[in-house]
């Protein structure tokens, strides 16, 4: 058994170039408008965080938190700037990064989707196990004409959410999945 371990360990270790998961990317990208959505989303949170940092630094500056070490209290003024430096580039990079990662595909009666940016996630949901297919639109998505398709099975780990699809694409996908799932109806829970 230890032989096998080593071998397997090697394929996993040496063959990679870590970061090479032997799965091909799904065929379809999401809508380009999703970049705008993620961008707006990221900026919203950036503003919120930087604003929060600003308030916090204001409180610290008031000298109420006398137990803080001297250097920290003095440096409080830099807090909003620091937050901005950390958060804003991330918010700007995230949408494009996500656009590169987020892809989906329906073939062989399996929904295959990839998502994430720093962290990644691949989901495989066979149509025969689907229980519900939801098509959702948040406010921002409505403005941009986007939609999210929520594919659920009896298990959270066997479910998939595809964000940032064009509304028409999402509607067609949801429709097709619902129809196909009905055909393959299978009480496997």
């Amino acid at each position: 058994m230890s032989d096998r371990t080593e071998r397997r360990g090697d394929t996993a270790g040496a063959g990679s170039l870590p970061g090479r998961v032997p799965l091909r990317p799904p065929a379809n990208p999401v809508s380009r408008k999703a970049i705008v959505m993620w961008l707006l989303d990221g900026l919203f949170w950036s503003v919120l965080l930087v604003g929060g940092a600003f308030l916090l630094s204001g409180w610290i500056g008031d000298g109420r938190w006398s137990w803080l070490p001297e250097w920290l209290a003095d440096g409080a003024g830099w807090l909003p700037a620091l937050t901005a430096v950390l958060v804003v580039p991330a918010a700007l990079a995230e949408p494009f990064w996500r656009y590169a990662v987020h892809r989906w595909e329906l073939s062989g009666d399996v929904v295959y989707a990839r998502s994430g940016w720093i962290d990644r996630q691949w989901t495989f949901v066979p149509v025969s196990r689907i229980q519900t297919v939801d098509k959702k639109q948040g406010t921002l998505e409505r403005v941009l004409g986007l939609a999210t398709v929520d594919i659920r099975t009896a298990s959270h780990a066997g479910s998939s959410t595809i964000k940032g699809l064009d509304y028409g694409v999402a509607a067609a996908l949801a429709e097709r999945l619902a129809q196909r799932a009905e055909e393959l109806r299978d009480d496997a829970t």
């Binding site: 360990g9 091909r24 399996v110 990644r120 989901t123 949901v125 196990r129 009896a154 066997g158």
Partner: protein, 603 residues
């Protein structure tokens, strides 16, 4: 479209869900048409015209199922239990009223009014609540002010629990809970206060329907699970009473109230001679293993906390001045010896009280196989019995704590589809020696899988890092803070000790990691302080999630989560090699992943 991914690669396992894999039976295809006539095994209740799908099987006199059973009430004896149960909650207000009123006659009047009111309320509740089986559904009707009817389709019923708390036991009553797998207590039916006899009768009747439904559905598919545990082919004799089924035999309970319920129990499935079989009774001396799990060891502290909470609550009710409490606390603080003594007593009480508590809950833990159900029964004061439909059992989980592993002890849970609160309800075995546990589980569910494939060495590094690093960071932070406030050096020392202990912990966590796939079932294992190995049938898998954090990507590993519509919903193989993980999922469900894998991992 490359063909259907489903059935062809599904396992033909013994617990074949007749509905889930129509191809399990070689005769399946000729009978795929529901109108193709009954299959040889003859699922009893065939689809008769009309909605009464649960008609009697063609055994014995063909008695039609009455469209509606009689409308029944709970036992009048609940009139005794209800007020007694509501009494504690009434006690405080009542005492309060007496105190406030200075024990005047008027205050006694109010108190009496409260008591009478609670009794009256119980009477009204009893009188207005009825339950009735109408055709293919159970209706619980409460006509208090408005009329609320909860309808539970019989085919939704996945299990029936009968339990009797101490007071109920005294009066020969039971609480019957109907599990519909809908999730959320609101959706489930509860009959609090039926007689034991009625509980058994109703349970048998409701479960009979569930099995009949399964058989009918299997019949409609022309498929019969060729397995003794399968519910199909149920040859059930229906007594001419209002409801089919008599209480399960081998219980010291007289046959149901129905006068004809004495019809000989020809209700075995084909292939299983005994209607009930005791799989295992945990010997009482093994109750001593209970405290090893650790959770029961905290019992004394829970008691103290509960007592303190109660004291505070009652203190405010009884208008004890807060200063007295604070004063008592200060006095106690002023006598550290006393405090230390109390602590020592508590610590010494840990194993004793823990064992006692464990014994109360797990007394005579019994696992039975009965009529396609696994029945787990336990408890000293409250006897709790949980029925798990075998058809829905998809696997099991074997759990061993650190101390339990040292003692060679394990606990087991069943993984059942659509079972709410599976943590408490799904338990198959209390803590017993691992070898015995595996034997019992093999008989009840299936054998365990051994020869787990290890995860790549880089996973060991990650486990170590995660067990040690957080404590080092804590120590560093504490050290910085300790320069301002010296007592914190203690925290630094503790964090450093924990960091050192993290080394063996991390190594052991890595040793626990493993996954495998064999004979239509897959297994994953992880954890050290609570090591858990899960064995599930591959047909229970409803999807896959592969996750990779940035750190995992740099290490070339990922986490593979098998989505399972049972138990906790997903079971993860943590830190599998990238190629290994994809290969694992592809091995279990080839058709689902084949279109998307790259044949040759880049090298």
């Amino acid at each position: 479209m490359t063909g259907l991914p489903g059935p062809p690669d599904q396992p033909r396992d013994q617990h074949a869900d007749p509905h889930a894999d129509p191809h399990a039976d070689p005769h399946a295809d000729p009978h795929a048409d529901p109108l193709a006539g009954p299959s040889p095994e003859g699922p009893g209740p065939r689809d008769a015209p009309g909605p009464r799908a649960y008609g009697p099987p063609p055994v014995g006199p063909p008695v039609g199922l009455p469209p509606a059973g009689p409308s029944l009430r709970l036992s009048p004896r609940v009139l005794l239990t209800e007020p007694i149960r509501t009494l504690p909650s009434l006690l405080l207000p009542l005492t309060g009223v007496l105190f406030l009123g200075g024990f005047s006659s008027g205050s006694f009047g109010w108190a009496a009014f409260g008591l009478v009111g609670s009794v009256l309320y119980a009477v009204v509740r009893w009188a207005t609540f009825t339950y009735q089986v109408i055709g293919d559904r159970l209706e619980l009707t409460r006509a208090l002010i408005g009329r609320s009817v909860r309808t539970i389709p019989l085919e939704r019923i996945r299990g029936v629990d009968v339990s009797s708390p101490p007071l109920h036991r005294l009066l020969g009553l039971a609480v019957l809970r109907i599990d519909t797998g809908a999730g959320g207590a609101k959706q489930e039916g509860e009959l609090d206060g039926v007689t034991l006899v009625e509980a058994e009768r109703l349970k048998a009747a409701l479960l009979w329907h569930a099995r009949a439904r399964a058989a009918r559905r299997a019949g409609a598919r022309g498929t019969v699970a060729a397995h003794g545990g399968g519910p199909a082919g149920a040859a059930v004799t229906v007594p001419a009473g209002p409801l089919p089924g008599s209480p399960a035999p081998a219980e010291p309970v007289p046959a149901g109230p129905s006068p004809v319920a004495a019809v000989p129990p020809t209700r075995h499935r084909t292939g299983e001679a005994l209607p009930e079989r005791v799989l295992f009774v945990v010997p009482r001396r093994w109750l001593a293993y209970g405290p090893l799990s650790g959770s029961y060891l905290l019992t004394p502290f829970a008691f103290v906390a509960g007592a303190a909470g109660l004291a505070f609550q009652w203190g405010s009710e009884l208008r004890i001045d807060g200063r007295i409490v604070v004063g008592a606390g200060e006095w106690l603080w002023g006598h550290p010896l006393l405090l230390a003594g109390a602590l020592v007593v508590l610590v010494l009480a840990m194993p004793v009280l823990g064992a006692a508590m464990y014994a109360v809950f797990n007394w005579d833990f019994t696992l039975r196989a009965r009529d396609g159900y696994l029945v787990a029964e336990r408890g000293l004061l409250t006897r709790r019995s949980v029925s798990l439909e075998r058809r829905r059992v998809r696997g099991f989980e074997l759990v061993e704590g650190l101390a339990e592993r040292w003692a060679g002890v394990a606990r087991a849970w069943a993984i059942v589809t659509g079972l709410g609160d599976s943590g408490t309800r799904g338990q198959l075995l209390s803590a017993i020696p691992r070898r015995t546990a595996l034997d019992v589980v093999r008989e009840a569910v299936g054998p365990i899988l051994t020869g787990l494939r290890p995860h790549p060495p880089v996973a060991r590094r990650r486990r170590l890092f995660r067990a040690v690093f957080p404590w080092l960071v804590t120590a560093a932070c504490a050290a910085v803070a300790a320069r301002a406030w010296p007592p914190l050096w203690w925290a630094v020392a503790v964090a450093l000790v924990l960091a050192v202990l993290g080394v063996p912990l991390g190594l052991d966590r890595y040793r626990s990691l493993g996954h495998t796939h064999e004979g239509g079932r897959l297994s994953v294992r992880s954890g050290s302080l609570r090591r858990s190995q899960v064995v599930i049938e591959e047909r229970a898998v409803v999807g896959w999630t592969l996750r990779q954090t940035w750190f995992q990507r740099r290490a070339g590993v990922l986490t593979v989560v098998a989505g399972v519509g049972a138990g906790s919903g997903g079971y993860a193989a943590i830190d599998v090699g990238e190629a290994q993980g994809v290969a694992f999922a592809a091995e279990v469900t080839p058709a689902w992943l084949a279109p998307f894998t790259e044949d040759d991992p880049p090298s």
